[in-house]
């Protein structure tokens, strides 16, 4: 029997033709012949050739990227990507495992260590700060280094970090922030805000806070002025595209400001200081477009309308599977991404865009794989849209997650088994039974609220209205592939939690070759900064200020 080392040497030195068997057992006399005709062999050999071409074609020069797009799947750990890939394939009629999500085809992949400075298992605030600013920090803290203490306003002074979006803005690039969560939520906020507490989304969240800290919504609307104030003489034009949810943090707690909600049912806004930040934004950008629904979104002229401020929900935008239930209509993540690129690419200097799929995380917290995978598939579509809308030779696209979740693909299901279904073993047609004689699903959670059968419910968060279940459930008569099915969990808890293992980084375009190996998560900032030469461009802009 030829060992693997011998086989590798034969392949490399003899071009697959000259190595014979070391024991002479092959009937054909060429033990590689069967391998070479095998489609798995052929396809993987082609992949190696492609990888070689990719390595040779990559532009490694500093500043080679005109545009940067950072996609973050909130909570999109490796098991989520794998399960979503299978789900997507099965929805296309494939067995599933062989399918590729758009970013699976990216030429460079690495791993990110996600821990926060003070936490083994991280949260989005600390992780996105690392990615956006190049510095790891504490859990719950946004845009500040570890010297700041969580929820202590006084400790924030002098700890402010500079984000990649701010550098891009200073460098004259167009900038954009998109999220399906509230735009003031931790992940998108790390692009533009500095806050000792991720929950300070508006002033009403800051009762008892002293020391002059400003809420995150105010920081977003006043971003341009704040940045210019930090660098005297600097003249920037603000963030060109902001889209997401979270209108509540921009409006006074007064029903007359409601956009969607009936005034009789109370105020949509949460602000206690009476400030209407949407009006303030209009004052800052009288030529801009403020949009709240699908029809206004569709009417945006990508060539003339900018900046654009889209707030499509009072709180988080709806899950993709639930989007049809929105009263005024919400755009999808793919639609927002495409629209943003078409606006931002009007700038000849290039653009920086960060896009968060924020609700993968929420679906996992609720223990609902159906929506977590649906959101991941939608993210993959948005990435494909970005690939289609940009030139790969001048655009660095990175896809990653801020952290993982305790989400598992377990047992030994047969190839092509419904990824949302009950586990059916290889060679079998009926669900396998566990030692308690009950069937079980391939997908599950280590902790969380446990089993729920909410039928066709497309809102994963409905699980918070049902009791926590810690016992095994009899799934015999239950359709586990339905939207409202929530997987069983091992440890009962009020919500499923983040996980601490590494997450994948996928990269394509100039500078993508630097994504290779196991990295501290904050390296992403440095890769983006180098690819677009952000710091030098920003420094030149500062040097040219009057």
């Amino acid at each position: 029997m030829m060992n693997l080392k011998t086989l590798a040497v034969c392949i490399s030195v003899a071009g697959l033709t000259a190595c014979g068997s070391d024991d002479g057992s092959s009937a054909s006399g060429d033990p590689l012949l069967n391998s070479r005709d095998n489609p798995w062999y052929i396809n993987s050999a082609r992949s190696v050739q492609q990888a070689q071409l990719n390595s040779e074609a990559i532009n490694t020069l500093r500043g080679a990227a005109k545009n940067i797009i950072l996609f973050v799947g909130d909570g999109m750990g490796a098991s989520t990507v794998t399960a979503a890939r299978i789900r997507d394939g099965q929805l296309k009629g494939m067995l599933g495992e062989e399918n590729n999500l758009s970013f699976d085809t990216f030429p460079f992949v690495g791993l990110a260590k996600t821990y926060n400075v003070d936490a083994q298992t991280p949260d989005s605030a600390g992780t996105m700060t690392a990615m956006m600013s190049g510095v790891k920090t504490d859990k719950g803290v946004i845009g500040l280094d570890e010297g700041a203490n969580y929820a202590e306003c006084d400790s924030a002074q002098g700890k402010e970090l500079v984000s990649a979006l701010e550098l891009a803005e200073m460098a004259g690039l167009s900038t954009g922030v998109i999220s399906t969560a509230r735009i003031t939520h931790a992940t998108p906020a790390a692009a533009y805000a500095k806050s000792a507490n991720r929950n300070w989304e508006d002033d009403s969240d800051m009762s008892g806070v002293s020391g002059g800290c400003v809420d995150i919504a105010s920081q977003l609307v006043n971003f341009e002025g704040n940045l210019e104030a930090r660098y005297p003489g600097l003249d920037v034009n603000g963030i060109e595209v902001v889209m997401g949810g979270g209108r509540r943090h921009f409006l006074p707690k007064d029903a007359q400001y409601n956009v969607e909600k009936d005034a009789a049912n109370g105020a949509e806004g949460d602000r206690g200081d009476g400030q209407d930040l949407l009006s303030l934004w209009r004052t800052h950008y009288p030529q801009g477009r403020l949009v709240h629904d699908q029809s206004a979104f569709d009417a945006i002229d990508v060539n003339s309308d900018q900046p654009v401020f889209g707030l499509f929900n009072e709180s988080h935008m709806l899950y993709e599977a639930d989007r049809g239930n929105d009263i005024l209509g919400e755009p999808s993540l793919t639609q927002m991404t495409t629209k943003a690129i078409n606006i931002l690419d009007n700038n000849e200097k290039g653009f920086f865009l960060t896009v968060e799929s924020g609700r993968i995380d929420h679906a996992h917290h609720a223990g609902n794989a159906y929506n977590a995978l649906g959101e991941t598939i939608e993210l993959a579509k948005a990435v494909q849209a970005a690939m289609d809308a940009t030139n790969p030779e001048e655009t660095l696209i990175i896809v990653t997650a801020d952290h993982s979740h305790v989400f598992t693909i377990a047992g030994y299901p047969k190839r092509g088994n419904d990824i949302l279904g009950k586990l059916v073993s290889v060679g079998e047609t009926e669900p396998a039974l566990a030692k308690d004689d009950l069937p079980y699903t391939t997908l599950g959670y280590t902790n969380g609220r446990g089993f729920k059968d909410l039928g066709a419910e497309t809102n994963a968060d409905a699980a918070y209205g049902a009791a926590i279940v810690s016992e095994r459930a009899d799934l015999s008569g239950i359709n586990t592939a339905e939207a409202g099915f929530h997987q069983e969990s091992h440890v009962p808890s009020s919500a499923e939690t983040h996980a601490g293992e590494d997450v994948a980084i996928y990269a394509s375009g100039p500078g993508a070759h630097l994504v290779s190996g196991t990295h501290e998560q904050n390296i992403l900032f440095h890769i983006m900064e180098r690819a677009a030469d952000l710091t030098n461009k920003a420094e030149r802009a500062l040097a040219n200020t009057p």
Partner: protein, 225 residues
């Protein structure tokens, strides 16, 4: 035995109706009201429990308040009929907001179950046994036995109010008994306004805030939808 129970329930209902002093002017559905009930639960073992319950309502808002638990649940109805639920923790002055419910979970029957504790659909399915009084004080007695559950209802049709409602089965019995009604609109408005100023958390954010000590306590108090 069932007949005796029926007679007893009807007599008690009519007595309670007089005792509650409901007044002589019919209050339209749009009228704000504070309606106090007692809820009595009995187990087959003889174990009993009693709690106070207050129904607060306007034309588009309804709240179920459980004073002993310092907890209230509120539903608001938008112009398209969809319901949004908020749970208020009255000691902590915090609220958990649930997402607007889908049209199928916002049916008229669903709203009526919150607004008047029983859907008109269920009342329609019941047998009208007897009635007493007239106009605003008309009191109807209904009964229905279905799937091993006996429903006995004393209903004030012109006020859309339950006077007395008992559900009994082999497992337990539960009874809502009207104690008082107050149509002071300012009082009702104050109740809703006070809760509207609680610090609210979107329930989708619970997973990211388990370490928040206040929220952690609320989680242990429980959410219900």
């Amino acid at each position: 035995m069932k007949k005796l129970s029926l007679i007893g329930f009807v007599l008690a209902s009519f007595t309670m109706q007089a005792h509650a002093s409901l007044g002589n002017i019919c209050q339209p559905l749009q009228k704000a009201a504070k309606v106090q009930y007692s809820i009595e639960t009995r187990q087959p073992t003889g174990q009993q429990s009693r709690q106070d319950f207050t129904l607060w309502r306007t034309s588009q808002k309804v709240a179920h308040q459980y004073p002993l638990k310092s907890l209230s649940q509120q539903w608001t109805r938008s112009h398209d009929g969809r319901l949004t639920q908020t749970q208020y923790f009255e000691q902590e002055l915090r609220a958990i907001e649930f997402e607007t419910q889908s049209p199928q979970d916002s049916s008229q029957a669903h709203w009526q179950k919150k607004f008047q504790l029983i859907s008109s659909q269920l009342i329609k399915a019941m047998d009208l046994v007897t009635s007493k009084g007239r106009a605003c004080d008309l009191l109807e007695y209904y009964q229905l036995e279905k799937d091993g559950v006996l429903h006995q209802l004393s209903w004030l049709p012109n006020k859309n109010l339950v006077s007395r409602y008992r559900i009994s089965s082999a497992k337990m019995s539960k009874e809502w008994l009207l104690q008082s009604v107050n149509y002071d609109a300012d009082l009702v408005a104050d109740f809703f306004n006070a809760r509207d100023h609680y610090q609210a958390t979107d329930f989708a954010d619970i997973g990211d805030h388990e370490s928040d000590p206040v929220l952690s306590k609320l989680i242990h108090l429980g959410f219900s939808r």
